[in-house]
């Protein structure tokens, strides 16, 4: 067995492992309830039906959930980018006492689990009157998107050459201008990577959305999916259709930017 054969075999195997589950749900999303229930046309649905997708749109509040998730994602991403680029720059490029500790602290923050915070955070948000609205998510999601994004950006900023910034400073620009005019544009790939991460983390989050929001008007997609299961009846086909639809935006975003995203992941994570 040559290395080449092994490599091709491995590639094929990984492709199978990764793609089969996606194909399984996509294929089921095109089947009727009866086809699923009675196990007819298992692998390729025939006849093909769009009824789950249309049903999702007309019978459930899926469009509303999509909207809520999208709004939350955008707001949280905006907050994240602002906070983490400022903070990341400060840790990467400015000298101040305790800089190393702050850097470590940021990583530590990412590791504080939502599983620990959800109960006390609930009470804090309730006291602020933020529960039951999307604002509870605007406030709580940054607690995990910002540390991660900051950590990423620290790596990115550090990798940028000093000279450009120095040049700007010598030319009489203040730190803030140097940051805004020189570094930010250069760190664009890192910013894009952080933005995509923040959006993705926010789009996919479940526990906080489940606990903080009960108002029907503010339900996000993951919680909505959970709610599609009520009483004794699972709308299997619709659940699958919803899963497909929910995954598409993230995959689409990702297809365009994955290179930058991986670079960002790697720069921030691996090289430290």
């Amino acid at each position: 067995m040559t290395i080449k054969t092994l490599t091709w075999l491995g590639l094929a195997l990984f492709l199978l492992v990764i793609l089969v589950p996606f194909w399984w749900i996509a294929s089921m999303s095109f089947k009727t309830y009866e086809q699923i229930q009675f196990a007819t046309s298992i692998y390729v649905p025939s006849p093909f039906t769009w009824e789950n997708y249309t049903g999702l749109w007309t019978e459930t509040r899926f469009p509303l959930w999509l909207r809520n998730s999208a709004v939350t994602g955008l707001v949280v991403t905006a907050i994240t980018i602002v906070v983490s680029s400022l903070g990341g720059y400060a840790v990467a490029r400015l000298r101040f006492p305790g800089r190393e500790s702050v850097a470590s602290l940021i990583l530590i923050l990412y590791l504080i689990p939502p599983a620990l915070l959800f109960i006390p955070l609930y009470r804090v948000l309730a006291e602020l009157g933020a529960t039951n609205h999307l604002s509870s998510l605007f406030l709580s999601y940054p607690t995990f998107t910002v540390p991660f994004a900051t950590w990423l950006l620290i790596g990115f900023f550090k990798a940028l050459p000093d000279e450009l910034e120095e040049a700007a400073l010598i030319d009489g620009a203040g730190r803030i201008t140097a940051f805004w005019r020189v570094l930010l544009p250069l760190a664009a790939p890192g910013l894009v990577a952080s933005a995509i991460f923040a959006f993705t983390l926010s789009w996919n989050e479940f526990l906080y959305a489940l606990v903080f929001i009960q108002d029907e008007q503010s339900i996000t997609v993951p919680v909505g999916l959970n709610l599609l299961i009520y009483g004794d009846v699972f709308h299997w086909g619709q659940l699958m259709a919803a899963s497909v639809i929910t995954t598409i935006p993230v995959v689409a975003l990702y297809v365009f930017i994955h290179r930058w995203m991986v670079e960002g992941l790697v720069a921030g994570g691996v090289k430290g």
Binding site: M28, A39, L94, F96, P97, L109, L116, V124, F206, Y254
Partner: protein, 312 residues
């Protein structure tokens, strides 16, 4: 910043104070830039953690005011056999899936490393599980393991291939259910390991490989003596990160099994949720989550050491 050698002492002192002022300005700017982060962290992370600790010392029941009861929640959990099971399950879940992720990550990195054309494409493609919502992943794998041939992938395939004559309920036993949630967690997470290791491999100096090849080492030995040691750092960091994130996972177990059958897959996060929102006991619920803190602290200390070492 280099001071010109030929300047006299008063000039040096003037320079030094200018330098100090510049430094102070820099620190002030840093403070300004870090302020939003600081506010967010204190208000929405530190303060809730402090509240969590306080809550764990009370008997808070939903709808009733709380009363201080000292360490009673901790004492209760220490002798609660369900909680012992939760600890066991959490460890099995975490060690199992992280272990699998490490191995798969290495394999994935090896494979991708040898792919020249289209490597970026495949690397991107393989990261798909990592970006998908865990709720959807949990639902997907629940269906993959379903006992109904129309819904369960494995049952459909194995029945059609004639390997089985009757559908098997994979998730019906404690072992099966644990296997299922571990698989879902593994599937979601190994791409991250793979990509990290791939990047790690890229930074192993070529000379080491060349030297090994010159010494006549076969591929396997090159892997064992050059690649793996070169990946040590990345492996440790990634493993620690994944360990911490996995032991606190909620979505996958909640959506796939709700902690069942019985308490077979109940882990910290799902048990905390059940006690807090099912039994309405918030004091005890928070205490369950707090039990993870020592492990968390240990993991964090280890990671910091490794990362700091690298930065230096």
């Amino acid at each position: 910043m280099a001071l010109p050698q030929t300047v006299g002492v008063p000039a040096v002192r003037a320079r030094a104070s200018l330098w100090r002022r510049a430094r102070t300005r820099e620190a002030a700017t840093a403070l300004l830039f870090l302020l939003p982060l600081f506010v967010l962290v204190v208000a929405l992370i530190f303060y809730p953690v402090y509240r969590a600790v306080w809550l764990s010392l009370t008997d808070k029941l939903v709808g009733y005011p709380e009363r201080f009861v000292g360490l009673r929640n901790y004492a209760y959990l220490a002798q609660d056999d369900t909680f012992h099971a939760v600890i066991r399950n959490s460890l099995v879940f975490t060690v199992g899936s992280v272990g699998l992720k490490i191995v798969t990550g290495v394999l994935m990195a090896l494979v991708l490393n040898n792919v020249i054309r289209g490597r970026n494409f495949f690397r991107g493609l393989f990261l798909l599980p990592w970006i998908t919502s865990t709720v959807i992943i949990a639902l997907t794998w629940r269906w993959m393991f379903d006992a109904f041939p129309g819904r369960g992938f494995f049952n459909s395939v194995l029945l059609d291939l004639g390997v089985m004559s009757r559908p098997k309920a994979f998730m019906a036993s404690p072992e099966g259910a644990m296997m299922a949630v571990v698989v879902a967690n593994w599937w979601r997470g190994f791409p991250f390991f793979g990509v990290s290791f791939l990047a790690g491999m890229a930074s192993i100096p070529r000379e080491l490989y060349e030297a090994a090849a010159v010494d006549g080492a076969a591929a396997w030995r090159r892997f064992w003596h050059v690649t793996l040691p070169g990946l040590k750092h990345v492996m440790i960091v990634t493993t620690l990160l994944s360990f911490i994130l996995t032991i606190n996972d909620f979505n996958i177990v909640y959506v796939m099994t709700r902690g069942g059958p019985g308490t077979a897959t109940q882990i910290f996060a799902t048990y905390s949720y059940q006690v807090a929102f099912g039994q309405l006991r918030w004091g005890r619920g928070v205490t369950i989550s707090l039990f993870v803190v020592p492990i968390l602290v240990l993991g964090i200390v280890l990671i910091s050491r490794y990362l700091l070492r690298d930065r230096k």
